[in-house]
């Protein structure tokens, strides 16, 4: 492999991680649950692309396996599971609740990302010069953005997506640091994620059955009337 091709592959990987970061911002900012889910699917595809490009760059067959596992589990099985388990009402509602307004949330997210870089770059340097690349800082940044999504959202499905975004971020860091982890481990992690999605989906359905809405933010105030207003909100 000559120098120009290596450069091209590294730039393409950097592009995939850059767009990966952008989708995480999109998930923070989107109002519709369906748009959040679509962005998550796109993000998982970009994760798979990054794994495949790194595999090509370093000639690591294991990373192709990671890409394949990601390609099947997240963009295909996760949305399917969510459609099966969680109530359809989430997808038809146009706007979902958020604690902060969107420009404020985006600015805080931006500060988090810049903070993540000051953590991530020295960390990658400490591990070794060959890990110097966009994957470690961007993975950590997306991890933080997922956690941020968890704190600002009040809607069960977006909370679940925030959790999955955190996992994606950790994965992106992982594929650049541990290039030769066993495929078995990756499979175990992927199955783990699917089980989490399944349990959360069932939980969301149970919540909706009990209080008539999936806007779990309303659960923070313990009043008899909360359930009643919740039912009102559920009406289209």
């Amino acid at each position: 492999m000559n120098e120009a091709t290596e450069q091209l592959l590294e730039n393409l990987n950097a592009l995939a991680t850059g767009l990966f970061l952008l989708t995480a911002f999109g998930i923070v900012a989107m109002r519709q649950a369906r748009a959040c889910l679509n962005l998550f699917i796109l993000q998982s595809l970009l994760l798979a692309a990054s794994a495949a490009l790194l595999g090509l760059r370093y000639g690591s067959g294991h990373l192709y396996g990671v890409a394949l596992v990601n390609l099947i589990s997240k963009p295909i099985i996760v949305p399917w599971l969510l459609r099966k388990t969680s109530p359809a009402e989430i997808y038809t509602r146009r706007e979902i609740d958020q604690v902060l307004d969107i420009p404020t949330a985006l600015l805080i997210a931006l500060a988090l990302v810049i903070g993540a870089y000051f953590v991530g770059v020295p960390l990658a340097d400490a591990v070794g010069p060959e890990f110097r690349g966009p994957n470690v800082p961007i993975g950590i940044a997306v991890l933080l953005l997922g956690a941020f999504t968890l704190t600002v959202r009040r809607e069960a499905l977006s909370l679940l997506i925030g959790l999955l975004v955190m996992e994606n971020g950790a994965f992106l860091t992982g594929i650049s640091i541990a290039r030769d982890l066993g495929v078995l481990v990756e499979l175990a992690i992927a199955t783990d994620g699917l089980v989490i999605v399944f349990i959360m989906g069932v939980l969301v359905r149970a919540v909706q059955k009990q209080i008539g809405t999936t806007a779990v933010g309303a659960l923070s105030s313990l009043k008899e009337t909360t359930a009643a207003t919740g039912t009102d909100e559920a009406q289209p």
């Binding site: 120009a4 450069q7 091209l8 590294e10 730039n11 393409l12 950097a14 592009l15 991680t17 850059g18 767009l19 970061l21 952008l22 911002f25 999109g26 900012a29 969107i102 420009p103 985006l106 997210a109 931006l110 990302v113 810049i114 870089y117 991530g120 770059v121 110097r132 690349g133 966009p134 800082p137």
Partner: protein, 316 residues
């Protein structure tokens, strides 16, 4: 030397002549997407011709600003066209006079005078549109800043002729994340600055919803023709900056011969046509945002441009 001056004048003439064509093609394409036939692509020329032959009315209560503004709006894009690469990939005679920031300031001058003129008459709709334009403008400003900072940081220069070569030498640079994210952010800026659809509806004729259009409501005759033509040229110049400087310098003339420069005209127009197709897809698939959603749209552009900067700052 004489050739370089001649090419420079030719460059300004291309902007002058083909700007109405670009807007005619755009509106025709949009009509075709909506299954209508639409006006001829030469309709903007006919409109300009008609307006130049009509009487002009100027309110008695307006000041010199109102009379002066059409000329400023008309001249500033031509002036910028002298500075930027429209046809050639080497600097021409007047290019030393300003870099990309200079061009941005000159374009902003036209916008500034348009706002003043809209407030100058007592027309109630003018100030509404002017203040809305300023709102969009000050939200777009930080994005412009970050885009230019990132460009100058990546290329080590704000001179467009150096910047455009940076993206393709080596070719791998074209796929660098900072480049792609910059391009995305700038597309959003073009939509906001050009008054295109997610921000403003250029074909709407409802005064209360207008943003860009209502500033020229008071003009008639020759003044209106100049304002219209100037607006079309500003859009054309923005497209040239985007396609030739930020996206790629392909299709530009690299030799100082008449044949190469003349060949560059159809190639550049072809590039613009390709981008107009993308623009039609964007405009036909989105709807106009509510006024207070514009902050979110431009916030997204800001995030994209900052992500481009971050990707550049922290990459090895």
């Amino acid at each position: 030397m004489r050739e370089r001056i001649l090419f420079n004048v030719l460059q300004a003439a291309v902007v002058l002549i083909f700007a109405p064509l670009a807007s005619g093609v755009l509106s025709r394409l949009k009509e075709m997407v909506q299954s209508k036939r639409g006006p001829s692509i030469f309709q903007p020329y006919r409109d300009l011709w008609k307006l130049f032959h009509k009487d002009e009315f100027v309110s008695e209560d307006s000041s010199w600003i109102f009379r002066f503004t059409p000329y400023v709006i008309f001249v500033t894009p031509i002036f910028v066209a002298l500075l930027i690469p429209v046809l050639t990939s080497y600097p021409l005679f007047f290019a030393f006079m300003g870099d990309m920031l200079g061009g941005g300031f000159v374009l902003a001058l036209g916008g500034f005078f348009a706002t003043l003129a809209a407030v100058d008459t007592a027309n109630p709709y003018g100030p509404i549109g002017a203040s809305r334009t300023r709102m969009v403008g000050f939200l777009a400003e930080p994005v412009f800043m970050i885009v230019f900072f990132t460009v100058s940081f990546v290329a080590g220069s704000t001179i467009p002729y150096i910047v455009q070569q940076k993206w393709v030498t080596p070719l791998a640079n074209f796929f660098a994340p900072s480049h792609v994210l910059l391009v995305l952010a700038f597309v959003m800026l073009i939509l906001a600055e050009g008054g295109r659809i997610p921000v403003d509806n250029p074909t709407g004729h409802f005064e209360l919803a207008m943003i860009d259009e209502s500033k020229s409501l008071e003009y008639s005759g020759r003044g209106f023709a100049l304002v219209k033509w100037g607006g079309q040229m500003k859009f054309f110049v923005l497209l040239c900056i985007f396609l030739n400087v930020l996206l790629m310098p392909w299709g530009l003339a690299s030799e100082q011969t008449y044949a190469a420069v003349l060949l560059a005209i159809p190639l550049v127009l072809f590039k613009i046509l390709c981008f107009l197709l993308v623009l039609v897809v964007i405009e036909s698939s989105l709807s106009k945002l509510r006024l207070f959603r514009i902050a979110e749209f431009l916030g997204a552009a800001f995030i994209t441009s900052v992500a481009a900067m971050i990707a550049q700052v922290f990459l090895p």
